[in-house]
């Protein structure tokens, strides 16, 4: 693996914020006052559903209201921009002061209250004057607004919002609705009417499902824009931002990617770009902004009389250090490094990608005869404007050379479904084809699958090969927005990791109760053959908060990371600062993780997105704490205390200690594994009421690759609600259990004919096979065992068997006492120890499903 490739950007400490983000340095005691959480003995999830209005103009103060569930005793709010400062006015109402130099774009806002930090919602900062929708007092009243403004509004069920504005002949009007892109549930539909009620234009989706209308105003007069939900749904979460103006709007760029460290001339395409020419020159200071129409005007895709695209060439250099996103980025775009680019006085930045390999532009390459020759490694930036267009490239490869092809389309917001084919030199015989990368490791909470193709290819012989890329959803209409990146490079393993607030079916923030724990889900998007173990560690944690390193074993993509707060930890909010490490020779390379959030749950609207940072709050007090130990020594009657050594074909016993902080032991606790490596089957266990220790065991299958893994446990129980006779569900998580899996010395397999039942007082014989592996030739001693005990298991007794030499099978006699507890004995197993020079070094087990019956 290339160190440089993995490092990507220089790891930097994450920023921490307080209530006045960025404006005040970290002062832990301040938070104690602001959070006002010490009075809270139990924290329920804060879910922020909406911030209304959703926009504010830079340099102004705007009244906003937060809505959601669990938003109790809000004290403040936070944002990933230091330019936004929130001041509480009443209940959930705040004033937000937006600094004048705050760049336009989308920011993340979370509330802070007695329940800690909430889930996240988008807040927009604009340069245009901002107006809040006024609900009409009369049904037919239409709110008048000035042209060139941003409106924040909300749609209720059956609602149709209308705005009247005056425009002048020749105005090049752009009306853009932001809903899905600002975390709203609104599926907006836009209509433009003249003052006589004649509909001039309509749109139901341009930027994804968010609509845009562009229109050349034919005559001076009043015009009306109407907005409603596609199915007339509505509610608090159906808010929107509506831009009505004539300013510049960049839609896409060619190339959509620039090479890191180089200044590249990028052609921006959009509307009204020329009108902002002078502004652009002044803003960039480069003095070489060119305005060019690259060929005839591109035809737009709107019905009616839309504006044509204009183009402008600007020099673009990727920033040296990470910047605030300010644009919506989907979970799938995790692997797309990029930065927001502002054009002149445009109110909306666009995302431009960064590549660490040379970038070239496609030229006329629409047939195999005119294939464009590219070197390896190269990233090509191209366009598939026509529906059935194909671009052809030629590469020279040596026999056995391993190349990795990856295309970016959907992940850079291009309306394409790309497909890559590799063909022989004549372009006739297809040698390989790469389709969608549908692996959705984020599930419904952070959907990460996408339509972009990627794949590995080994050149069969020295020679030239053709590569063609095409769009599978081209239909018949052309669309110049169909840009793509095609990366051809060696197979350099890489991974992008992201952390999101964990284990909840709805959007939540990360809140660690004092004396308790909180879980963060870590997901690894492995690319280009990356299959090694990854280690994730936290740094710059506040005092009293700890977090053990976790391991994602070979090819593992998900693991839980657990934050633990001491009982006396200060109330605090910080941002999580996680690093990923991969063994790379002598040194471990670290790279910061990215962060994400769940936006909506369920189908079909379940969604998530990336965000700049993941805030963590210490809030409330835990009532229950469980501690897991995956390395508890075993007492063996023959070999004494045995250290645990895990290997495939063994059993991982996790001992669980329960600390009931709010003493309540009348209810049992259910245990289940969380974040298990995919090959390990989950189990459940119960710690009966009145006990403070239990076990849960997981079989490590033979196919589990050697490596180090982490998992955690979830404990579910019920606590009484004070002052009532009712109970409430309580869920807590254990610390992470990290365990190393070594190569096995032997494996034990139960005989297929072994009995599955035993009567009280009965003796049965259980046959098994013990196969030695990896050169082990020592003795294998097999006993009946259960978590924490060997041989005498819950009034079942086994008669141990030793096998030496080449003996690979045996039989254990099991005796059930007359008073043996009926039913299945949890996690009963045949347990073998491998003995080398009289020292029991190796372990191997298999579960023994045995039911005790009358």
């Amino acid at each position: 693996m290339s160190h440089a490739a993995f490092i990507g950007s220089v790891s930097q400490p994450r920023r921490r914020f307080f209530l006045r983000a960025g404006a005040v340095p970290l002062i832990w005691p301040v938070l104690a006052v602001l959070l006002y959480c010490s009075i809270c003995s139990r924290a329920s999830a804060q879910q922020l559903d909406s911030v209304f209005p959703v926009s504010a103009q830079a340099g102004t103060s705007t009244s906003i209201v937060f809505a959601g569930s669990g938003l109790e005793n809000l004290s403040s709010a936070r944002c990933n921009s230091p330019g936004l400062i929130f001041r509480k006015t009443k209940d959930n109402a705040f004033l937000v002061d937006v600094a004048a130099d705050t760049l336009p774009g989308l920011y993340d806002v979370q509330t802070i209250g007695s329940n800690g930090v909430s889930s996240v919602r988008t807040f927009c900062v604009t340069r245009q004057p901002h107006i809040v929708e006024q609900e009409p007092t009369e049904p037919q009243t239409i709110q008048s607004v000035a042209l060139n403004c941003v409106i924040s509004g909300r749609i209720t069920k059956g609602d149709v919002d209308s705005y009247r504005f005056r425009a002048t002949k020749g105005d090049r009007l752009i009306i853009e609705c932001w809903a899905d892109r600002v975390d709203s549930s609104l599926r907006a539909m836009l209509e433009l009417f003249d003052n006589d009620g004649r509909r001039l234009a309509v749109n139901r989706g341009f930027f994804g499902v968010d609509p845009v209308i562009t229109y050349a105003i034919p005559a001076d007069g009043d015009y009306i824009v109407k907005l409603h939900d596609l199915v007339y749904s509505g509610g608090d979460s159906h808010f929107y931002r509506l831009d009505v103006g004539t300013g510049p709007r960049v839609v896409f760029s060619v190339p959509p990617v620039v090479e890191r460290g180089r200044t590249t001339d990028v052609t921006l395409y959009g509307w009204n770009l020329h009108t902002s020419e002078s502004n652009a020159a002044r803003e960039t200071g480069a003095g070489r902004v060119q305005t060019a129409s690259s060929g005839p005007p591109l035809k737009g895709v709107q019905a009616g009389r839309p504006l044509s695209y204009e183009s402008t060439i600007v020099p673009v250099t990727a920033p040296a250090s990470p910047t605030t996103l300010r644009v919506l980025r989907s979970p799938a775009s995790l692997a797309v490094a990029g930065f927001p680019h502002d054009f002149g006085r445009a109110d909306v930045p666009i995302q431009i990608s960064v590549s660490d390999i040379p970038v070239v532009l496609e030229y006329d390459n629409h047939s195999s005869r005119t294939a464009q020759v590219i070197e390896v490694p190269t990233e090509v930036a191209g366009q598939l404007t026509r529906g059935n267009e194909r671009d052809w490239y030629a590469i020279d490869a040596r026999s056995g050379e391993v190349l990795y092809f990856e295309a970016f389309g959907q992940r850079i917001d291009s309306p394409v479904d790309l497909d890559i084919s590799i063909l022989d030199a004549r372009g006739e015989v297809e040698l390989a084809a790469f389709h969608d990368d549908v692996d959705n490791i984020g599930g419904l909470r952070f959907p990460s699958s996408h339509l972009d193709p990627a794949g590995r290819w080994v050149a069969p012989a020295d020679g030239r090969y053709m590569v063609t890329i095409r769009n599978l959803i081209g239909s018949i209409a052309g669309d110049p927005r169909r840009v793509y990146r095609l990366s051809v490079r060696r197979e350099e393993p890489d991974a992008d990791l992201v952390a999101i607030a964990g284990q909840s079916a709805s959007p939540v923030g990360v809140n660690v109760p004092r004396g308790g724990r909180a879980v963060v889900d870590v997901m690894a998007f492995r690319r280009r053959g990356m299959n090694r173990s990854l280690r994730v560690s936290a740094r710059n944690l506040p005092p009293g908060v700890t977090c053990s390193d976790i391991r994602l074993g070979p090819n593992v993509t998900n693991a839980p990371l657990v934050l633990t707060a001491d009982a006396g930890a200060d109330t605090v909010i910080t941002t999580l600062d996680l690093l990923c490490h991969v063994d790379a020779g002598a040194a471990a390379i670290g790279r910061p993780l990215q962060y994400g959030t769940m936006i909506r749950s369920g189908l079909p609207t379940g969604s998530g997105r990336l965000m700049d940072e993941l805030p963590v709050a210490v809030a409330g007090n835990a009532r229950l704490r469980i501690t897991a130990d995956g390395h508890e020594p075993r007492q063996h009657q023959l070999y004494g205390e045995l250290k645990v050594r895990h290997s495939p074909g063994g059993i991982l016993d996790v001992a669980v200690r329960v600390d009931r902080i709010a003493a309540e032991d009348k209810v049992s606790i259910s245990l289940v594994g969380v974040g298990l490596p995919p090959l390990i089957v989950n189990q459940t266990a119960t710690i009966p009421a009145g006990r403070d220790k239990g076990y849960i065991s997981f079989y490590l299958p033979h196919s589990l690759p050697v490596g180090t893994y982490s998992l955690a446990l979830r404990a579910d129980t019920k606590f009484p609600i004070s002052g009532t006779d009712k109970m409430e569900d309580v869920t807590v998580y254990s610390n992470t259990v990290t365990f190393e899996v070594h190569p096995p010395a032997f494996r034990i397999d139960l005989d297929l004919t072994a009995p599955r039942k035993i009567k009280r007082g009965e003796i049965v014989k259980v046959g098994y096979a013990a196969r030695r592996m990896n050169g082990f030739i020592g003795k294998i001693h097999t006993e009946l065992a259960a978590p924490g005990t060997v041989t005498d298991v819950g009034r079942l007794r086994g008669r141990g068997v030793s096998s030496t030499g080449q003996a690979e099978s045996g039989t254990i006699q099991i005796i059930a006492n007359e008073d043996a507890e009926l039913g299945m004995h949890p996690f009963l197993r045949l347990y073998g120890v491998g003995v080398l020079e009289d020292e029991a070094l190796y372990h191997g087990s298999c579960f023994l499903p045995m039911e005790i019956v009358e």
Partner: protein, 744 residues
């Protein structure tokens, strides 16, 4: 005299041909494909109701209408241990004793011993049941003489059918052919090809089938002028011919002249206004519109009216509803809350396309080739309901080509030229339609991504041959592995010389305005169901293509046509006519238009339960996103379930439920009794009963009441004690009249 000679010649020719056949029968061997199978067809043995049906009959199955001779040979000779054939004693063969009913036969006696058919079958058996051979001649085509004819009532015409074989020979097969009249009330046909006309006049055709080939005889039975002098008809038609010069009008006039029909009088302004408002916008004219139009003296006012109506949003809604039916924008049976965004998006896209007057070729091509996420690309939602091989083929053929090809899925189309190769060739066009993503609803996934799959193949079900994508009746497409066959199909469809595409659309549109297609049913074009006026169809299609598939232009042409402006009242010279548009054919308002009309005249909108949101007040039935908005009134009056692309799903037949709904409907009752409704306004105003009655008639029927109506109305109103109840009753009565319920 001339006619007499012609019949003589035909008889002579038939006799000669008969002799030829007799000679051939004597001298040549009987061939299974060209001799035996036609006999089985003639006798009805291989018909769909007998052994030709999919499951056969009593264990004996033949291919439908004999399109698979090899299969039939095996069935007759090989199956059941050969018990159906007895070469040693041919007359004791089961096929003969059953057909002659000498042994009990479920199908009864199909022929008699010694008949011509009997002799052929017997001789084939006696000759050793010779199997069909690869080099056997096959029927290439059949011809007919005469091909078309003008006939008088109660006359007959003998048809002569000649089969032309692949070996270059031909012979008279008049007696072996099968005949079917499409208008039995006008003319019937005997099994020997003798056509007899009856008392009714009009156009008819006779389909002739022999050996898998079809030919059609077209004929007209002109009206025999009874009371009106012939010269008057001629004078009328001459006048029209001189003043109406467009190809469309000329073709209509020629047809009327041919059939001796005199068109009805032109409709008055008020009638035309109501008619065209309903047909274009699905909306009744208001009183002001009626008065303004009637008072308008501009000679171009009809043109301007049509243009005005086409510019109204209701035009897009009305036709959007029609296309949503055809395109199966269906929400029923599924979790409405999840499906509705899709149906709303698709119906909106249809309406927008119509409002923007998107060229029809582009409209269809965008649907056929639709790709991408259904959440973002509305025409791709067509693929939500159209998702199986039969859906693809039959929806495209029926909706855009006007062809019902369903039969060819299992066997050769019995009344048309379509074979299974045609069916599966068209199916292959869609073999690479891929679906991914989305989520499964109760029955149908939604939010799928429609894309071009890498691979996909369709095999011929009978011979297992890999089918290459091809147009219906057209060539195989020349494609590379990366080409989307749907693009080729779309290009073929929208080509100006396509034989189906433009004609289907103009026929569909003509039928919308005239109540009957030039080809009827509108989506069943075939040789055996010819257009009643081919010239008219061709003229309209040519106009449509030349205009760039401009739908509004097509509507202007049709609405400005002389036939569309005629009265619905028949005269003595067109009373029988139901084919030539010599008068306006009245039909009931569609369910949505009727409900909206009632809402409009009573000034009380219908409250629709939209789900998941709330449809805003004032939403009209023609604007509903799909058919799954629960309104029992609409279901009773024939709202279709959109399970197929056939417009025939929309039922306009009367029913008891409709009558009961008009009497008992809670919705109508609500509208009549609403506090702010029209009835309440009438009750509360201070105008006279005469003024109010006039207003009621103008509002409901688009005309002023005549003297008797006014008198009756005011008498009734005066007689009632409760003014409100009186007006409600009067309104209710008028709502139930045919004049209100029908577009006329």
């Amino acid at each position: 005299m001339i006619r007499h000679c012609r019949i003589t010649l035909i008889v002579f020719a038939a006799m000669s041909a008969g002799n030829t056949f007799a000679c051939a029968e004597e001298s040549s061997r009987i061939r299974f494909t060209t001799d035996v199978v036609p006999v089985l067809t003639k006798l009805g043995c291989n018909s769909g109701g007998c052994h030709g049906k999919a499951t056969g009959q009593n264990g004996f199955k033949l291919s439908l209408l004999g399109f698979e001779p090899e299969f039939d040979y095996r069935a007759i000779v090989k199956e059941s241990r050969g018990r159906r054939i007895l070469p040693a004693a041919p007359e004791r063969s089961l096929v003969l004793v059953k057909a002659t009913n000498q042994k009990p036969h479920g199908g009864g006696q199909r022929t008699r011993v010694g008949s011509e058919e009997y002799k052929i079958l017997r001789r084939w058996i006696a000759d050793g049941v010779v199997a069909p051979a690869a080099d056997d001649p096959v029927v290439e085509r059949i011809t007919m003489s005469p091909r078309e004819q003008v006939m008088e009532n109660r006359t007959s015409e003998a048809l002569l059918v000649t089969a032309h074989f692949s070996d270059g020979t031909s012979r008279d097969v008049t007696r072996q052919a099968v005949y079917e009249s499409n208008e039995p009330e006008i003319a019937s046909v005997q099994s020997n090809g003798l056509v007899r006309t009856h008392d009714r006049t009009g156009l008819f055709s006779v389909m002739v089938r022999y050996g898998g080939s079809i030919a059609t005889f077209h004929a007209a039975v002109p009206l025999q002028a009874t009371g009106q002098p012939q010269s008057e008809t001629e004078a009328t038609l001459n006048y029209l011919e001189q003043n109406l010069t467009s190809p469309v009008e000329q073709s209509l006039i020629r047809q009327w002249r041919r059939l001796g029909i005199t068109p009805s009088e032109p409709a008055d302004d008020a009638t035309f206004l109501r008619r065209v408002s309903v047909d274009i916008c699905g909306t009744l004219p208001t009183r002001k519109e009626v008065e303004d139009y009637v008072d308008d003296t501009d000679t171009e006012k009809r043109n301007r009216l049509i243009d005005r109506l086409l510019d109204r949003p209701e035009y897009a809604s009305n036709f959007g509803l029609k296309w949503a039916d055809v395109l199966r924008n269906r929400g029923s049976g599924y979790a409405t809350g999840k499906q509705r965004p899709g149906t709303a998006l698709f119906s909106s896209w249809i309406r927008d396309s119509l409002a923007a007057n998107k060229p029809y070729d582009q409209f269809v091509a965008e649907i056929i080739t639709a790709s991408g996420n259904q959440n973002e690309n509305p025409p791709a939602i067509w693929y939500r309901q159209v998702r199986t091989q039969p859906d693809y083929v039959e929806s495209v053929a029926q909706a855009f080509l006007g062809v019902r090809i369903q039969c060819a899925q299992c066997h050769h189309h019995p009344f048309d030229r379509w074979s299974q190769a045609d069916y599966y060739g068209l199916a292959a066009v869609f073999s690479r339609v891929g679906r991914k993503g989305g989520f499964a609803d109760a029955e149908v996934p939604t939010n799928e991504v429609i894309y071009l799959k890498d691979r996909g193949e369709v095999l011929h079900p009978r011979n297992g041959r890999l089918m290459r994508p091809k147009a219906l009746g057209g060539p195989e497409f020349q494609l590379t592995r990366y080409d989307d066959p749907r693009r080729s199909l779309a290009q073929w469809m929208v080509a100006p010389d396509n034989p189906f595409f433009a004609r289907t659309m103009v026929n569909r549109t003509w039928a919308h305005f005239h109540g009957r297609g030039i080809i009827h049913p509108i989506d069943d074009a075939r040789d055996s169901n010819p257009p009643t006026n081919p010239e008219l169809l061709d003229a309209l299609a040519a106009e449509f293509v030349t205009s760039g598939y401009d739908i509004k232009h097509l509507i202007r042409v049709i609405c400005n046509s002389y036939s569309y402006g005629l009265k619905a009242t028949p005269n003595d010279l067109n009373g029988d006519d139901s084919q030539t548009f010599a008068r306006f054919y009245p039909r009931r308002l569609s369910a949505e238009v009727l409900l909206d009309g009632i809402s409009q005249v009573l000034d009380v909108p219908t409250q629709f339960a939209g789900g998941p949101g709330s449809l805003p007040p004032g939403t009209r039935a023609i604007d509903l996103p799909d058919e799954n908005v629960p309104v029992s009134f609409l279901d009773v009056f024939g709202r279709p379930a959109r399970t197929s692309s056939c417009e025939c799903e929309r039922v306009d037949a009367p029913s008891l439920a409709q009558a009961l709904t008009l009497i008992n409907s809670a919705e109508i009752q609500r509208k009549l009794t609403a506090e702010t409704g029209y009835a309440a306004q009438l009750a509360a105003n201070e105008r006279t009963h005469v003024e109010n009655s006039t207003d009621i008639f103008l509002r409901l029927l688009g005309r002023e009441p005549d003297r008797m109506e006014l008198q009756a109305g005011t008498d009734f109103l005066k007689s009632a004690e409760d003014r409100g109840e009186a007006y409600r009753s009067l309104l209710w009565s008028l709502l139930a009249t045919n004049e209100f319920l029908f577009n006329h």
